[in-house]
Symmetry: C2
Subunit: 335 residues, 2 copies
């Protein structure tokens, strides 16, 4: 089955590039709301499921035990830009567990934000694991390990109690089996499991509504959604899609990007979960698709609409600030 | 017509992302050697035609008038990384025409190389137009304007004698009309014209062989190919595909990337020109496709093959240096 063209990139009057993709929107009972393309093909959700991966930290009372703030809980679900606030919050989470940066096993990279990377370089700095876009998630894993009385060492391994708990949370919410034959290693070294988009969307419908979840899990999901809605900067960063969208919509939409063109979302007021993938892994396409789905399903006021429309159909400008083209979604998505 | 899958990105045992594309390989008589996908769809060649855009500078004897070096001629065809050598060579070209950085009309951006950008920031520096990846091409345009006795001001406009000369060179080599209805504005503000891939490939077959070109144009093309083969660092930069490939193959292959997943090449010993596009604009896909075509058509020795195979099937490692997947081309390209 050929996935449909969902996003076009124009230059002048010509379509310069095109992205195909697939989309699943599902309600908390598992009924299909929208299905585009081959949704049964398994997709690695990558970082789009960080909020689900953070559930065990909240569910086990460990976030409270260590006194994690809302900012820190939001950071535990983040693919952050490595700005100073992000690195500081990750360090704070580790300190609350009595540990430090060397315990992280996510690896070092320069801040994802080029401006933050250059600012760090200008100060004569070097990146640490705290700047890794996944450092908040990893700091949360380390808190979870300590809170469970486990040695955090090796917490990225599929066999460590932390990853076992994370896998159970993913299976519990999505209803999909997360087995070794569909596993891969993520950029930050933890396992990632490829599952079909409807299962992923179903997981987010449940994450957004609590329907069908245990009381502990429901409370954990609610706490995470509220923390992220209060601190959208912590889950991404300056100018980033997730930050801008949630600064505008707050608790009306929980959205999270994943690498390789994946997006997940929950629209709690509708009871919908969303999962999508751009075939080619393009983030610009996944972002436009997600914004288009927000426009399609949520009733927005003028202020909200202005933000989301700009995200759905961004204007492309060149180095002289001249408009050269646009990214636009196709009719399939808007219908 | 659906373009075929030409590149897959794997993670673990799963194909995570897929790129479709189209390819045209044509000889200098215009006969088709290979055609994959919808090659009649018009494509903006973007920076992939910089070598053709540089022909008027050489053809009119202006490069010699100003004593441009081989490094500078290579830079005139470059999408460079903004490393210090690149910025210095662009400044030198302008100085030879008695002008300076303010005459450039390409706009400012931080060096394309993140390492170069951070190094500049660490020195307390700010980028100038010299760091724009197109600064060499623009410095060449300014030399061309001055050499023709024209005011360089406004040299990026389609109506300026510089862009008229560039458009004629493109039409002359490719045989395709470059009209306003298929024009767009490039990232550096000059016009770019969408044409079918076979015409683009035909242009590069002629660029690589000189067949069918005037004596002046043939000599200009030869001089450019030689300059780039001697200084592949100047057309791209540290670790970049074009630099690595041409450091290995020198005059056996002229290759040039364009934005939005375009690649062009000439294989002079075979008389072939190549033009390809990844539908979605993905550079990683375009690079793998181009490397696969080099492997398919050129008879390589072991040293050359080792370099090109690594470019065709790169291993993807995560932040801890663990192999997580691969980029690989599909059978259609290798057959």
């Amino acid at each position: 089955m050929d996935n449909p063209f969902l996003v076009e990139v124009t230059r002048g009057h010509v379509v310069e590039s095109r992205h195909r993709g697939s989309v699943a929107v599902v309600d908390a009972e598992g009924s299909t709301v929208l299905s585009l393309g081959d949704v049964e093909r398994r997709v690695f959700p990558r970082s789009a499921v960080k909020a689900i991966q953070a559930l065990p930290l909240l569910e086990n009372g460990i976030a409270d035990k260590y006194g994690l703030t809302d900012e820190e809980i939001a950071l535990a679900c983040a693919s952050h830009s490595g700005e100073p606030e992000h690195a500081a919050a990750a360090a704070s989470m580790l300190a609350k567990a009595g540990l430090g940066e060397p315990c992280l096993e996510c690896g070092v990279h320069w801040p994802m934000s080029e401006a933050a990377a250059r600012a760090l370089a200008a100060q004569g700095g070097q990146p640490t694991q705290l700047h890794n876009n996944c450092s908040g998630k990893h700091a949360g894993f380390i808190c979870l390990a300590c809170g469970l009385g486990e040695d955090p060492k090796g917490y990225v391994s599929a066999h460590h109690p932390v990853q076992q708990a994370v896998r159970h949370a993913l299976e519990d919410l999505t209803g999909a089996s997360h087995t070794d034959d569909v596993s891969g290693t993520d950029g930050c070294s933890i396992p990632t499991y490829a599952i079909p988009l409807p299962a992923l969307a179903f997981g987010f419908a449940r994450f957004g509504t609590g329907i069908g979840l245990s009381e502990g899990c429901r409370g954990a999901a609610e706490r995470i959604r509220r923390a992220v809605a209060r601190h959208p900067f912590m889950v991404a960063g300056t100018g980033r899609f997730d930050t801008r969208l949630m600064e505008a919509l707050r608790e009306r939409a929980f959205v999270k990007v994943g690498a390789e063109g994946v997006y997940c979302a929950a629209f709690p007021e509708l009871g919908y979960g969303v999962a999508l993938k751009a075939d080619d892994g393009g983030t610009r396409a996944a972002e436009a698709m997600m914004a288009a789905l927000v426009l399609r399903f949520l009733k927005l006021d003028d202020g909200e609409r202005a933000v989301v429309e700009e995200l759905a159909q961004p204007v492309l400008k060149n180095w002289n600030g001249i408009e050269v083209g646009r990214i636009r979604v196709t009719r399939e998505l808007l219908a």
